[in-house]
């Protein structure tokens, strides 16, 4: 076999192997996303780590959430839906000022799920707390029970809804951790916006996976839960609070 032919075969084999393996490698990426038929796994626990020392004086997370989930204002702030909000804090003694994004904390022991009479408020196996819009009767007991004021009641008719974000007048809703994106293997809209246009303060990931950044940082850096006294084991943790 002449050297040219040998080289051609070597390159050819490499190219064939590459062509065969590349989709496989791509498949590994896709495998990490969940197919619509596959149930959420309790092996995962999705969560957020928010470093409020980096939280900029902006609300790109709020706008991104509204955009992604089709939340529009009716010009009535008391009844408009608010899934994530920027909260300004000022220490009453020292005057030290901070701000942070606050949303559903995706508790492991969610009070909203405990109190819901029909089971419409539920926690997915991967820790995301959601409302089943088909069996929510709009009693608002979950709003009473949430320690974080994270839930909104849909006070009026909706228009321009997103196909993958079910909502409905007369039912309760809150941050879904952008479950539609997470199931596609993406990060929540607020996190993406904060990375792109904000202070890069938000980190999303699997709290159970030792190889993730969020797991590593929670293991090596101090963090805390809002209302840790309630022992709800929140999926959202804060740094610098």
């Amino acid at each position: 076999m002449n050297p040219d032919r040998r080289q051609f075969l070597a390159w050819g084999t490499a190219a064939a192997a590459g062509a065969a393996l590349a989709p496989g490698l791509r498949l590994i990426e896709l495998v990490q996303a969940r197919s619509p038929e596959e149930a959420a796994s309790a092996l995962r626990r999705w969560g957020l780590l928010i470093d409020i020392t980096k939280c900029a004086d902006c609300d790109v997370c709020v706008s991104a959430c509204n955009e992604e989930n089709g939340l529009s204002s009716h010009g009535r702030p008391q009844t408009d839906a608010q899934w994530i909000r920027k909260v300004a804090l000022r220490d009453t003694r020292s005057g030290y000022a901070q701000s942070l994004p606050l949303m559903c904390q995706h508790c492991a022991e969610p009070p909203c799920v405990d109190v819901c009479p029909t089971g419409a408020s539920f926690k997915r196996d991967d820790g995301i707390v959601l409302v089943d819009k088909h069996i929510c009767i709009g009693c608002r007991y979950c709003v009473m029970a949430c320690p974080y004021g994270a839930r909104s009641f849909v006070h009026e008719a909706l228009s321009g809804q997103k196909a993958d974000v079910p909502r409905g007048k007369g039912t309760v809703e809150s941050c879904t951790l952008c479950v539609q994106r997470v199931d596609r293997g993406e990060t929540p809209a607020c996190v993406e916006a904060c990375d792109r246009d904000g202070g890069k303060a938000m980190l999303f990931g699997d709290l159970n996976d030792a190889s993730t950044d969020i797991h590593r940082r929670l293991r090596s850096e101090p963090s805390r839960q809002v209302r840790a006294d309630l022992a709800l084991n929140t999926g959202v943790r804060y740094q610098g609070l």
């Binding site: 009716h74 009535r76 702030p77 008391q78 009844t79 408009d80 608010q82 909000r85 920027k86 909260v87 300004a88 804090l89 000022r90 220490d91 009453t92 003694r93 606050l102 009070p111 799920v113 405990d114 109190v115 819901c116 009479p117 029909t118 089971g119 419409a120 069996i135 929510c136 009767i137 709009g138 009693c139 608002r140 007991y141 709003v143 009473m144 029970a145 949430c146 320690p147 974080y148 004021g149 839930r151 909104s152 009641f153 849909v154 006070h155 009026e156 008719a157 409905g168 007048k169 007369g170 039912t171 309760v172 809002v226 209302r227 309630l230 609070l241």
Partner: protein, 401 residues
Amino acid sequence: MARVQYREIDGRSGGFLALLAVLGALILGGLAAAWTMEHQGHHITGMTNRIVWGTPHVLAVFLIVAASGALNVASIASVFGRALYKPLARLSGLLALTLLAGGLAVLVLDLGRADRLIVAMTHYNFKSIFAWNIFLYTGFFAIVALYLWTMFEQRMHGYSARAGLLAFLWRLILTTGTGSIFGFLVAREAYNSALLAPLFIVMSFAFGLAIFVLVLMSAYRWSGRVLGEVVLTRLGRLLGVFVAAVLYFVAVYHLTNLYIARQHEVERFILVDGGAYTALFWIGQVVIGGIVPLALVYAPGARGSRSALAAAAACVIAGGLAQLAVLIIGGQAYPQQMFPGKEVSSRAFDGVVAAYAPSLPEVALAVGGVALALALTAVALKLLPFLPLSLADGDLESSAA
């Protein structure tokens, strides 16, 4: 022992028809309000994302609590063996049913998706005290209906005491459930207390008896039957005991909170600088709902006076509504404390006292529920012999002898 003669009220007078017409109009108003809320959405009410339970819930909880309390008169007769109260037992059972129906109607029609009531009846989360309450309410209807049957049907008289005991135990559990709707809310400073369950039980004793007294006095006056002093004096004294018990539990609740540093701010809000809620607490709940009725019932000058007793009962009702408004609406208006030692603000009204002004539709719905309870009572009194022909002192004593 003379047999008590029960008889339907005549119910053909112009006054009776006028009463039904007014109540019917109020019920229609309530239904129209519910329909409007259903179509427009709850933004037409004064309720918001911060005050999710408003005036309809104050009235609904009041009626539900009063329903279990109204049954007390019957319980005193059959469980505690006081024969004097026995002729009153049928009305007591009737009010228990009608008040509960009125309260539940308001609660259901206020739901964001009232059309999904069937979902609430077919999907249960048994960790929710709300889900338990659905069984407690429906069970209460069934048990009280059974209890009334044992009173009406001569063959069943022998079972009346046992049915009465079951109804009494059930109503204690039911009001424990209603109080625990708030008592189990760990996230809000104004609730989260085991004391709310027994507090609701004594509240039910007072509110239910106050309504019972007013309905009894009105029914006897309007139907021209005799209502003696003996029964009214007894009921008046009993009302006084219940009102004092409510004041006691309220005092213990607030004293406990005042001892706990993290509860100081919410106590300051209710007791000192909560504006309308502070006024409702001191003037409505304590003075009108507590001190005035005690004075009216026990003051030597007022003792035995019918108008004083009626005024005392009306005060207990007004004070009870104030108490529930302070608890339900005030408890939500006070901002949730998430960051101790920090001043909090946001566009979603964090850190500030939530504004609330009831709108016409929610008031109409709430009033419609009261009207429904009263209309059902009036119609039932016309259809079935709930009331003794006479509660004159001599007749009562001979039947109680």
